[in-house]
């Protein structure tokens, strides 16, 4: 399995960022960055990363099972993450979550039929003073209102 030249360069640098013989340390960063390019952690990707980090595929799967952001399932083109933790809850985070779920007709960690959007009710994303907050992939949106979310979803549906 090969990746884009930019990612290959990043992975090579990554493996050199840890003491000699400790290449396993690159495992989680390598999974995160390759997942971004491939879409999800397929069996093939897990095997490839295992080979590069000098661990078994089982050890990769063990790690993948632990971390929320590592996914074995294909998500939507845009992964919409809505925080409902305490600071967001107090200022409407739950209403945002309910609205998005109803409008898209999907629940937590589900994908729309057209594959455009997946939805996740996330734990605190560190935007408490700018709540309620959501993330689309890695982008933050702060002080989100119901109208803004509604429009955002309409826009995201058009990008396929």
């Amino acid at each position: 399995m090969t990746f884009s030249p930019e990612l290959e360069a990043r992975l090579a640098k990554m493996l050199e960022s840890y003491p000699k013989g400790r290449e396993r340390a690159a495992l989680i960063p390598m999974l995160m960055y390759t997942q971004d390019e491939v879409g999800h952690i397929s069996k093939e990707l897990a095997e490839e990363v295992a080979k590069r980090c000098g661990v078994t595929t089982l050890q990769v799967e063990e790690v993948v099972g632990f971390y929320t952001m590592l996914r074995t399932k294909k998500m939507g083109k845009t992964h919409l993450q809505i925080c409902t933790n305490i600071s967001c809850l107090l200022v409407g985070g739950d209403e945002l979550w309910q609205h998005a779920s109803k409008k898209l007709g999907i629940g937590h960690n589900q994908v729309t039929a057209d594959g455009s959007i997946s939805l996740e009710e996330v734990e605190c994303i560190g935007a408490c003073s700018w709540a309620p907050a959501i993330q689309t992939n890695y982008d933050f949106h702060h002080y989100v209102t119901l109208d803004q979310l509604d429009k955002l979803i309409d826009d995201l549906r058009r990008i396929q």
Binding site: A25, I28, V91, C124, D139
Partner: protein, 438 residues
């Protein structure tokens, strides 16, 4: 990032470069005292640096509040093993959003703090462990690190002093538990983020079983000014046993939420009413989470106090991570308790049974109480169960889940009882029989 303008009542030290144009660039940094402290430290002895940090009374800003100088002093000098620097940038305690600002607006300050710490303990390599959700900050830190290498503030023979120091970023992948130091080290090594039993502490056996300085972003960021202006100066800003300033993240039911820099010991009510603009019109204060959701909540009448470690401890809570969540009289405390426990249940790594099972059962019981279908004895059961989790786990996550739960049930018991009263139980009929069928 919608960052608030500094409030006149703030004491601006760690955040003083936030508002400069292009503040993240090395040019701006160097034009505003950047790397001056590191330059000074590179010519200081290890003991002198550590003593200055000890004198400053700087305490860890991640939540536990351990004295930083003391921690650095625990690193065994004579150890033949390499020593490492690890930055905990896994900011994920609900209510906390300060490290984001430090990395976004002043990333070189963090690099400078790491360099000084490295010199203090003889470390030549370090990592900034940044939570996976903060990808844009990883990009900002990567850029700043590249600039620092180019200007020889990182790499071989830093500024011709013969001292080598390498630093890189390391992404997390979504696990609150990895903000706990020993779980973070496991994760850094490419494993599941489960805690290690201590001792040995990271200062003796940390990353790759080598002596490691592991501190929060804000803690490292406080170091340059301590070296530049002296530990005594920093100590004088705070209270007798805790020096300096810290970033308060105010969220929830206030008119102007934001992040504000205040000296340790700043009055809580002033932070709420002056800096954060007070409550919304017509609303009254009900409760405050003083330092991230793992801290016991304070009722409105307990909030008139200075924000320092000892005062908060005396009030039965903690200064924690600086994440203040303000709740007004519209807040449903049963829902708040449930949401907090849902978080800890989701984030429990599953390693210790009291935490794994305790958080799950607390969630189940609080869910049925919130639905009005619990039984009266459930209210006591929540408290009892949570009490039994305290101190019985490898890491503090078990306590972090139990402490706020215990405090909410104790201080707002009437709300739990009112919820039960919403479903009537006919006389002579078993309560549990009625409620479970509602």
């Amino acid at each position: 990032m919608p960052y608030n303008k500094p409030h006149p009542a703030e004491t601006i030290i760690i955040s003083r470069r936030f508002h400069l144009p292009n503040s993240a660039s090395i040019d701006t940094f160097l034009a505003h005292d950047g790397y001056k402290a590191a330059r000074k430290a590179l010519d200081m002895s290890q003991d002198d640096i550590i003593n200055e940090v000890k004198k400053s009374n700087l305490r860890g800003r991640g939540g536990a509040g351990f004295p930083t100088g003391m921690k650095w002093g625990f690193v065994p000098r004579q150890s033949p093993k390499p020593k490492y620097i690890v930055v905990n940038a896994d900011e994920s305690e609900p209510g906390t959003c300060k490290d984001r600002l430090l990395m976004e607006f002043d990333p070189h300050r963090l690099i400078e703090g790491c360099l000084i710490a490295a010199k203090a303990v003889g470390a030549h390599q370090g990592w900034v462990y940044i939570r996976g959700e903060y990808r844009y900050l990883i990009d900002i830190m990567d850029k700043a690190i590249a600039e620092a290498y180019k200007a020889n503030w990182l790499g071989k023979n830093v500024q011709g002093t013969g001292f080598d120091f390498d630093l890189s970023t390391h992404t997390g992948a979504g696990a609150y538990e990895c903000g706990e130091e020993s779980a973070l080290l496991e994760s850094l090594e490419g494993k599941r983020g489960q805690p290690r039993i201590r001792p040995p502490f990271p200062a003796v056996s940390g990353a790759f079983q080598c002596p490691t300085i592991l501190n929060n972003v804000e803690t490292f960021c406080a170091v340059p000014d301590i070296i530049l202006n002296g530990g005594d100066w920093y100590a004088s800003l705070g209270v007798p046993r805790a020096g300096g300033t810290r970033l308060l993240c105010i969220s929830g039911h206030v008119q102007s939420p934001g992040v504000f820099e205040v000296p340790i010991g700043f009055p809580m009510m002033r932070a709420i009413n002056e800096m954060a603009g007070g409550l919304r019109p017509g609303r009254k204060l009900k409760a405050v989470i003083p330092g991230g959701s793992s801290c016991p909540v304070l009722k409105a009448d307990e909030c008139d106090l200075p924000m320092d470690y000892d005062s908060l401890a005396k009030a039965g809570s903690m200064l924690g991570s600086g994440g203040m969540v303000i709740m007004d009289d519209s807040t449903d405390m049963v829902k708040a308790a449930l949401r907090i426990i849902k978080f800890y249940q989701h984030e429990s790594c599953g390693w210790c049974i009291p935490c794994r099972e305790g958080t799950l059962w607390l969630k189940k019981i609080l869910t049925r109480l919130d639905d009005g279908i619990g039984v009266r004895s459930d209210i006591d059961l929540v408290g009892e169960l949570a009490e039994n989790m305290l101190g019985r786990t490898f890491c503090p996550l078990g306590d972090a889940a139990a402490l706020p739960t215990i405090s909410i049930v104790k201080k707002f018991r009437a709300e739990f009882e009112a919820r039960l009263a919403q479903v009537q139980v006919p006389a002579g009929v078993s309560e549990s029989l009625v409620r479970i069928h509602v």
